[in-house]
Each structure stands twice: as C-alpha cells, then as structure tokens.
C-alpha cells in the first residue's frame, strides 16, 4: 500500500516537473521575445549549402506559385498561431492581425495553445489544418516539433509563413524584424544620441552564452568604434561589462558595482528584458546621471522611462509582425509574384523592402526596430 502511494507521488512529481519545464519556457521566451528572432537568422545563414540541397529535393513544395488559391478572396481563412495568446506580446500581435482582416475583409483568426508548450501548439496547428484554413502564420515555440505538421499543411496546399523561426524548415517564408547587426547599431545610435556622442559607457547581457545578446553587444561596440570616436566602452572595450543572469535583482547589483567602480560612467545598455529595470533602479538609487538604453517591453519599462532614467527603449512591434505575416500569406494566395522574396514590400513601416537571407528557409528581414521614449511610450500598450 505504502509502495503504491509512493509510486503515485513520484509520478506526480515527474508530471509536475514537466509542467514546470514548459511553464518556464513560456515565461522566459515571452518578455525576451527579441532573443529568438535575430540569432536564428544568423545561425541559419551559416549553413546555406545544406538548405539548398533540401530545397532542391522538395522543390515543388517550396514553389510559391503552387499556392495560388482558386477560391475567391472572401472565402479565404488565414490562421495566425501564437505561442501564448494570453501574453501581452501576442495580444498586441492580434491588433495587427485584426487590422489586416478589416482592411482586406479577409477572414483572419488568431489562436494560441491552451498551455504555452510545444505539444499543445502542434495540436492547434493540426486543428487548423483539419478545419481547412488556407494559410497558417505561426510563431513557433519549438520549430522542430512543428516540422511534421507544417509539412503536412504544405502538402495540402496550405500557405505556411513563420515569424521568429529562421531555423524552421517547412515554411515558405520566415519573417524577421531586423538583423542582429542592424539592431545592435540602432541601440548604439540611441545611446550615442542620449549621451551627446561622448563619454564612457557599459554593456550588460543576460549571459555571455546568450548568442543573440552577444551579437547585439558586439554590433553595438563595432558601431560605436566606427561612428562615435568620443565614446568609450569601459574596461578597455571588454564585451560585455557584466551579466544579469536573467534576473532583475542581479542586474541591479551588478549595475551598482559597475557604477561604483566607474563613477564617471555616462551610459549603460542592457539587451535582456531583465537588464534595464535593474540598471535604472541602481542609477536612481545612487543618484547619478547615467543614460540607460535597452531592449524591453513598454509596459514593464514605463515607470523608468517616465522618470527619465531609461532614456530609450528599442524593440520591434509584434502588431506589425502579425500584419506582415498575413499580408505575405494573402499575396501568395492571390498569386502575386513574390519570387524568392528579395525586396518584398509588405506595406508596413520598416517592411517596405525586405531583404532575403537564404538559410534553413527563406528568411525575409525588415528594418523595423522601433524606438520608444517618454514622448511616445504611451502609444504602445503591451
């Protein structure tokens, strides 16, 4: 009897731990949604040979012209599948999706999994295929888990478009807001502007092992050296200055230390969503005039932006990303010539002339970083 009770409990523990795992993925991916996007695009471009081979094998499946729909536009349904429809990030995306629906009077639906885990998302995709939608636009939790379902969708003639998934094979086009290099440079431009292009600055990342963060950091430094000679990264240009370990409290403590060791510091950048709130708290508490620029979501950063400590927030707008995916899907359904996607105009700001990066898939990259300051942050509610 006791043994039985034990095994039941052990099983319960195991189930709980799997749940926990899923829960935490959802947690960490959402606020730092930036991260996935650009890393993968660069990862992808490093293995073009393999990808072209793939493409040659299943050429038909990836020929955009095969996806022209015979039905009338009013009968199309475009499904947008997110990682978690309850998250503020994807609620924002839904605004763009609905806006597209209203403008074009095409039927659009946005759905997310009940639990933010890869298996539940696969279920949603399968459901959509069975319902006979004409296009699926997906933001994958785990691209690998979706491959089979998305392949099946494409075999049935359903247009598949993805976002933040440059390592996904079975998609006609992946769409990204920017490259890591451009984004890093944009962060540096913002900081330079706030610092009047002179003085010492420091950089924070979540971990030195976070590929995207390090790419952003390296791009920042490179851009500063090329463009802003009067600025100086402390510790003789060591990248990064410190790690936040994905924790606001650690970010606060490290920032404090950096500020104590460098009393003449004028600027600080942070690329994880945990970085800037911690830095800003330290700056405010120490009573310093240090400009803080970084990546994060508007609602979380609003108090510090309003108080003037975080001077500029950089990110991309999920609303536009949602719009762009739908637009691309509808153009393919309408049979509009998009070719390999180079120079595609999605009719949204920053996506007028997207560049193609051929990797695991055809990845279309925009120049759609947005800049939030105290003046415009109220316009963004997510």
């Amino acid at each position: 009897m006791k043994k039985k009770l034990f095994s039941v409990m052990l099983v319960a523990a195991m189930v709980a731990s799997t749940l926990a795992g899923c829960g935490s993925t959802a947690e960490t991916t959402e606020p730092a949604a930036e991260e996935a996007a650009a890393t993968e695009s660069t990862e992808a471009s490093s293995e073009p040979a393999e990808a072209t081979e793939e493409a040659a094998m299943t050429d038909d499946l990836f020929d955009v012209a095969n996806y022209k729909s015979d039905k009338d536009k009013s009968e199309w349904t475009i499904a947008v599948i997110t990682k978690d429809n309850t998250a503020a990030w994807f609620k924002r995306m839904e605004l763009g999706v609905n806006q597209f629906g209203e403008e074009t009077s095409i039927n659009v639906i946005q759905k997310g999994p009940a639990n933010a885990d890869a298996a539940s998302q696969v279920e949603v995709v399968d459901n959509m295929i069975d319902q006979g939608v004409d296009a699926i636009c997906v933001v994958p939790i785990d691209p690998g888990a979706l491959e089979a379902s998305l392949k099946r969708a494409m075999e049935q003639g359903i247009v598949v478009i993805s976002h933040e998934a440059s390592n996904l094979e079975n998609t006609l086009f992946d769409t990204e807001a920017f490259t890591a290099d451009d984004f890093g440079a944009a962060i540096m431009d913002a900081l330079a502007k706030d610092m009047n292009e002179e003085g010492k600055y420091a950089m924070m990342v979540a971990y030195t092992t976070s590929t995207t963060h390090m790419e952003y950091a390296n791009a920042q430094y490179k851009h500063q050296q090329e463009t802003y000679p009067n600025m100086e990264l402390i510790n003789d240009g060591a990248i990064p200055t410190c790690e936040s370990e994905e924790s606001i409290d650690t970010s606060y403590e490290r920032a404090k230390e950096v500020l104590k060791a460098n009393p003449d510091l004028k600027g600080f950048t942070g690329v994880a969503s945990t970085d800037c709130p911690g830095i800003a708290k330290a700056v405010e508490e120490l009573g310093l005039d240090v400009k803080v620029v970084g990546v994060g979501t508007p609602n979380e950063f609003k108090p510090y932006v309003k108080s003037g400590t975080i001077t500029t927030v950089k990110l991309w707008d999920p609303m536009v990303s949602g719009y762009v995916m739908c637009k691309l899907a509808s153009d393919i359904l309408a049979g509009i010539e998009v070719g390999d996607g180079e120079g595609y105009n999605a009719g949204a700001e920053g996506y007028e002339a997207m560049t193609l990066s051929q990797g695991t898939n055809r990845c279309l990259i925009g120049q759609a970083d947005i800049t939030l300051t105290a003046e415009n942050i109220d316009e963004y509610d997510f």
Binding site: K2, A13, S24, A26, N235, C242, S247, K260
Partner: protein, 342 residues
C-alpha cells in the same frame, strides 16, 4: 595567561575563525585594488545583498544539521509569496504589510509540512523529497498559476520604500540605503539563536542530526522535531521570498529557482557539516558574507566577466577544504599522540 591561550586554541580550531580570516584578507585585497571596499555605501550594499541569502541560510542550516539537504526553500519562497500577494490583490487588502507576510508563512508552512510528512513518515532522503516537491511547486507556480512578473500591492510597496539606514559617500557622492527587511533578518537570527542554544528542542535539533538512535534514547522525539523543522523552514522561506520581492519592488517568479546552491555553499563554507549534527548561525552569516562579498566585488576589482565564475568556484572549494583539512590534521595529531602513548 593559560586561559587566554586555551581560548585562542579553541577559536583556531573553529572553521568560523578561518572563514573570518579569509574575509579579512580578501576585504583588504579588494580595498587595496579598488579603494572602494570600505566606503560606507559599499558596506551598506553588501549588507543589503546578504539579506535574502542569510535568511535562506537558516533553512539550509536547520535541514542540514538535523536531517539532510533541503533544496526546496527557493520554490517554497516563490510559491508562497505568489499566493499571499495574489490573495492581497483579490481581497483588495491594504492593511499592515506583516499580514501578507503571515499569510505567506501559513502557505510556506503547509508546503514545508508536505516535505516533513514524506521525509518523516517514509524515511526518504530529504534531498530526493525536496527536489521532488520543488518540481511540484514550480509546476504549480508556472504551470497552473501561470505566474508572471507583477507589481506589488500598495502596502508592500510602502514597506519596500522604508529605509533603515541611508548613507552617502562623501568622496564620490554615491548613496546607498539599507531596507527595513534587514531588521527581519536580525530578528530571525536572534530567535533562531535563542531557540537553538537555550531550549531543549534546539538541542534536540543537533542531537538527532548527530546520532539519531542516541537522540531517540535520550528522549527526543526524532519524527516530531524533523517534521517541525521542515514546517518552520517553509515559514522562513516564505519570509525570505516576500523580502526578496519587497526589495526588488516587483514579484519575479522565475528569479527564485537556483538560489539554493549558493546558500548551501555558503553554509558549508561557514562550517556546517554535510553529515549532520554540526553547524552554527555564526557560520551561516560568515559564509554568506564571504560569498556575497566576493560576488559583489569582482567587478569592483576589475575581473573579467568570463573569470568571475572561476573565482567564485575557487573560493567555495578553498573554503570547504578548510574543515576537511582540519579533521585530517586532528586525526593525525591523535594518531601521533596514540603512538607516543604506546
């Protein structure tokens, strides 16, 4: 003269003495290299950073001394503070802050009781049980409750803004302040000290860890004491969890997990034995101070990000080697003495 020598000898034999020595030497090195260690604002910063790890250290100490490792306290802290904060929101509670702490402690106690029940009733190793319950709590927190980062209720925010001590460095103009949660730490240590040293139950905690069977024969109720310890650990964890959110002014569900390792390293540095029965509160404070000091000074000293972890690891290994070395030397001394006698 002789008594002084005896006293010195006694101190030198304690691990705490050596940790204290390391702290002294390191702080002088840091001061020498950065010139900022003994600045008043830096000292206050270190005191602030120590608050949560030191409270956790009591949990880790109680568990190690009496039973074995407890690794569930960070998640008990996360889950109980989440529940108490949510209750405060749902009921629009705006009374005194300590009511939220009390609610958190009740839930912490329940979670601790689950640990205690399984460990005492089924005599399972505490490490396995607390690992399992950690997963369960984390599953409930992030899976079932879908906890997200959130702001704190007004009353906790007000509490978080109170400062016990504010200093300003004359030279650099940098300020720092010690939050009220520091008082919680002080009170908890006083209570723990009194109970561990001046009550029968307190002696029992050490007795059952040293030798369970002898303790039982001496009349201590091993099961009851162990169960009680895990319940209390749950309550202390809840206090630490709420203190953490009060200090960061936000509830941050994903930042708790993983905190146990540093705390356990700290108390072992402070002389707590993995085998049970030995460990002091003084050691907890010193061990935590050493680790906090090192982690919070590496940037000050100018050590590259990539080497910081190597340094922290090195300190942990050197620190834990000391008690091992002591036992080894003592054994050798005894052997020599035994040899002489023969």
């Amino acid at each position: 003269m002789n008594t002084l020598k005896n006293k010195m000898n006694k101190y030198v034999k304690q691990t705490e003495f050596w940790v204290f020595l390391i702290i002294l030497v390191l702080s002088l090195i840091i001061q020498g290299r950065s010139g900022a260690f003994f600045a008043n604002n830096n000292l206050v910063d270190i005191a602030r950073s120590m608050i949560c790890p030191s409270i956790y250290a009591i949990c880790a100490l109680l568990a190690f001394v009496s039973t074995g490792p407890d690794v569930s306290f960070p998640l008990i802290a996360a889950l109980s503070s989440y529940i108490s904060i949510m209750i405060a929101y749902k009921t629009n509670f705006d009374g005194p802050w300590f009511v939220i702490f009390l609610v958190g402690m009740v839930f912490g106690a329940l979670m601790g009781a689950l640990n205690g029940f399984i460990i005492v009733k089924y005599k399972f190793p505490s490490l396995i049980v607390t690992l399992g319950t950690s997963s369960i709590f984390s599953g409930i927190l992030l899976g079932a409750f879908e906890a997200e980062r959130m702001d704190l209720p007004e009353t906790l925010q007000r509490f978080g803004k109170l400062t016990l001590l504010a200093v300003k460095n004359e030279k650099t103009g940098l300020g720092s302040s010690l939050p009220m949660t520091f008082l919680i730490l002080v009170v908890l240590y006083i209570i723990a000290y009194l109970i561990l040293n001046y009550t029968l139950v307190g002696r029992g905690v050490y007795a059952i860890g040293g030798d369970e069977i002898s303790a039982e024969r001496a009349g201590f109720s091993v099961g009851k004491i162990r169960f009680g310890i895990f319940v209390i650990n749950g309550m202390i964890a809840a206090i630490a969890g709420l203190s953490y959110s009060v200090m960061s002014m936000r509830y941050l569900p994903t930042e708790y997990a993983g905190g146990e390792m540093v705390v356990i390293a700290a108390i072992i540095l402070g002389g707590t034995r993995l085998t049970g029965g030995v460990g002091t509160l003084k050691g907890c404070i010193l061990g935590t101070l050493l680790l906090t000091m090192v982690t919070n000074s590496l940037i000050l000293v100018g050590i590259s990000v990539y080497w910081q972890k190597v340094f922290i690891g090195g300190i942990i290994i050197i620190g834990t080697a000391i008690p091992a070395l002591q036992t080894y030397l003592n054994k050798k001394k005894k052997e020599v003495k035994a040899g002489e006698a023969a």
